[in-house]
């Protein structure tokens, strides 16, 4: 006789899959990428392609090497490659994206067990590695005829000459993907509407950042200054695309709020008190490392259970 399939309940599954989530993220990154290419020229496209393709290649090679089924079909390596490229200045030599991809995919992600096991965001990990190893190359924002000082660097030196509207549209110096706040917010809206991210992390991050900037900068309620900080640098890209990385943010809502506030605090500290103008990447990386601690103290209380103080759990 013919036997039917058996499995434990439930017998139906939602259509959403890991691969589809990553596709949504890629889709959401397209406006930013497109603007970067439009703004910085064809070389930006080249860097994006190099970075994405080498990310895919490194993941495929690594799986081959350890004799595991290839995981490139979950599309996460494309997201990593794309994010990495968007975090590079357009002036970098061709081998920078390749080294970056190698570090992101192999060192940060695959060695720790692949997607889901990485303790920090691979693209950001690679960016920080590159900034530390090749500081000159990574902070050279010259393009076309512009001198290359980013709005944040100008802000820091006290001679801000860029218009806020230019910063919102993205007509400034910076990395390929960070300049246009508008394109990033369009992408974020795509992700929110398709249910891929919510505002627990990004919302608290941006809000608390604004609060801390106002509190620490010693400028009182200086609206233009605040707007420049919000629209300038990698804040928007970081808040919507990197801080929200599922793998490296806390899973509970309470944890996400704490994480968001921490990121806002750290970013403000870096931007105001450190010698460099930017602080988003390092703030998120440090936040990533703190996630296990945050998760330990934010285990949700089950329905109907009276809270007890003797809680154990965490990752």
């Amino acid at each position: 006789m013919e036997y039917k399939n058996v499995s434990s309940n439930p017998h139906i599954r939602d259509h959403m899959s890991t691969g589809k989530i990553m596709l949504v993220v890629i889709l959401a990154l397209l406006p930013t990428t497109a603007y970067g290419v439009f703004h910085f020229g064809i070389k930006a496209l080249l860097i994006v392609l190099l970075s994405v393709l080498s990310s895919i290649l490194f993941e495929w090679l690594f799986c081959k090497l350890i004799k595991k089924e290839s995981t490139i079909r979950d599309n996460s390596c494309v997201v990593t490659g794309l994010l990495l490229a968007l975090n590079l200045p357009v002036s970098v030599p061709w081998w920078i994206p390749i080294i970056g991809s190698f570090f992101a995919i192999v060192i940060v992600k695959m060695i720790f067990g692949g997607l889901g096991k990485n303790f920090m965001n691979p693209a950001l990990g690679a960016r920080c590695f590159l900034v530390i190893s090749f500081p000159k190359l990574m902070t050279d924002f010259a393009y076309d005829a512009f001198s290359g000082a980013t709005p944040l660097a100008q802000l820091k030196s006290g001679s801000m000459s860029v218009k806020i509207t230019d910063m919102i549209i993205g007509n400034t110096a910076g990395t390929i993907g960070e300049t246009s706040m508008l394109a990033i917010v369009v992408g974020a809206c795509i992700m929110i509407m398709l249910g891929v991210i919510d505002l627990y992390v990004s919302g608290t991050y941006i809000l608390s950042f604004a609060v801390f900037i106002l509190a620490f900068a010693g400028r009182g309620f200086d609206m233009p200054y605040l707007c420049a900080h919000l629209a300038g640098g990698g804040l928007m890209l970081g808040a919507f695309f990197m801080a929200t990385d599922y793998v490296t943010r806390p899973v509970s809502k309470k944890g996400q709020i704490i994480y968001g506030i921490f990121l806002g605090f750290m970013t403000a500290i870096f931007r105001i008190f450190s010698p460099s103008a930017e602080g988003v990447s390092f703030a998120i990386i440090i936040g990533n490392l703190l996630v296990p601690v945050i998760e330990r103290f934010t285990v949700p209380t089950p329905f109907g259970v009276v809270k007890n103080s003797n809680r154990k759990g965490g990752k």
């Binding site: 058996v6 499995s7 439930p10 139906i12 589809k20 599922y246 899973v251 329905f303």
Partner: protein, 441 residues
């Protein structure tokens, strides 16, 4: 008033349009009928017939073995062929009484000779126990035990679970539309057992016709009301239904009566009416035959003991060869590999799926997206529980509240990595609950 609900839950495709407009039809009985002795939670019933005995429709063939048990009645008249070990819905082998149907349907006398008005409180509960009534929503908890809480005076709500949140099922819906008077009468009988209680018919708002019909019917009854619930799975989960209606929370260690509630399923309440008003024991129920693998989805009145294979032969046929056949709904039902299993008191549907989504799903790594936690009606983090379960880490499993899981399957449904979350957690819970029992002894 806003729609009542709870936090979490999912909105799967509900498939109810396939069968919701199909009136209940009688399913002819098969030649051989099989009655498993354990159709309920508690001790299996003890046979009271022997091989060769003649039985009538509605005659007791196995009696309750103790308080936490329930008798079993023959659903046809005929001859007892003996006992047989047979595969049951849950995949285990169990003792079944086999009866050859003589197709004459000679009725046994009613199980009681008193009128409802003349019965005392205890007599009503005894009648319900004698009629073999158990929770017909799936769990099969003996109803007379449920109706005998320690402190009957403290019961404030008798809730009828008319949510039918499980996708595809329409048997409760049809019953509400076709026998609303019996439902209301059954609820009145239940409410009469508890002096301080209000009867609540809790209906999901995807059944506005039922809400209207029952509201009209109960308009003049002071202690019975209808409440609309938000349509969401698992709205019909006992704990979450109680929360939606009363805002009282209970955990896995508590019984509904601890917060002054008693919850029964639609079919169960109608069975109570049939037993107390007509003296008719429980030996038939409504089964929805549906899914994209069935040619003519419909709702049938089926005699317990009928084989699923017999239903398939008599329901108008299947479309090709469905990959998966499920007893019950897609979220909580049992997949059948063999259709020669008998319908019991708590079977609710026969669902045939052309494609098995579970088989088609490719498992990937957990990316910590947190969708499982958002869907979990019990506020747990199924992803972590699964991790603890797979490592056999019982301390962490319990610390994370694994025992509070209601096994609704919402986490597995939403997981984009297609992990078998609910399945791992269920296995671990079974082990933990067994260990706790052992320790208690």
């Amino acid at each position: 008033m806003g729609r009542l609900t709870f936090k979490g839950g999912i909105h799967p495709y509900d498939g109810k349009e396939l069968s919701k407009d199909k009136p209940i039809k009688d399913m002819p009985a098969g030649e051989l009928m099989y009655y498993p002795l354990g159709q309920h939670i508690g001790a299996p019933a003890e046979p009271v017939v022997a091989k060769g005995d003649k039985v009538l429709e509605g005659q007791m063939i196995a009696k309750a073995a103790g308080l936490m048990s329930s008798p079993i009645y023959s659903s046809v008249s005929g001859v007892v062929l003996g006992m047989e070990k047979r595969l049951t819905v849950t995949g285990t082998m169990a003792d079944c009484i086999v009866i050859q149907n003589d197709f004459e349907y000679n009725q046994a006398p009613p199980i009681i000779d008193k009128k409802f008005e003349e019965m005392s409180r205890q007599e009503i509960i005894d009648t319900i126990g004698l009629a073999g009534i158990v929770g017909m929503g799936g769990a099969g908890f003996p109803t007379h035990v449920k109706l005998s809480p320690k402190e009957p005076d403290k019961i404030q709500y008798v809730i009828v679970n008319c949510a039918e949140c499980e996708p595809y099922l329409t048997s409760d819906y049809r019953k509400m539309l076709e026998e609303p008077e019996k439902l209301v009468k059954g609820l009145m009988i239940e409410v009469s057992l508890f002096p301080g209680a209000t009867g609540v018919l809790a209906i999901e708002d995807n059944k506005p016709d039922c809400i209207k019909l029952l509201t009209d019917l109960t308009r003049d009854l002071p202690n019975i009301c209808v409440r609309a619930l938000k349509t969401k799975y698992p709205q019909g989960s006992e704990r979450h239904l109680i929360y939606a209606v009363t805002k009282r929370k209970l955990n896995s260690k508590m019984l509904p009566s601890d917060v002054g509630c008693i919850v029964n399923n639609v079919d169960t309440v109608i069975a109570i009416n049939n037993a107390v008003m007509e003296g008719k024991p429980l030996y038939e129920r409504i089964i929805t035959v549906t899914g994209d693998g069935v040619k003519k989805p419909c709702n049938y009145r089926v005699r317990t003991g009928t084989l699923y294979s017999h239903i398939v032969e008599n329901c108008g046929g299947l479309k090709g060869s469905p990959e998966k056949i499920i007893s019950g709904g897609p979220m909580m039902g049992f997949a059948l590999y063999d259709l020669d299993v008998p319908v019991t008191k708590s079977s609710s549907a026969l669902l045939c799926m052309k494609k098995d989504e579970v088989k088609a799903a490719r498992q990937t790594a957990c990316i910590n997206c947190g969708r499982c936690g958002e869907a979990c009606p019990s506020g747990l983090l199924p992803g972590w529980l699964e991790d603890a379960a797979n490592h056999g880490d019982s301390e962490r499993f319990i610390a994370l509240g694994g025992l509070e899981c209601v096994e609704c399957g919402s986490c597995s449904y939403v997981c984009p990595a297609k992990k078998q979350l609910c399945q791992s957690i269920k296995s671990m819970r079974k082990v933990e609950l067994a260990n706790m029992k052992k320790k208690a002894k």
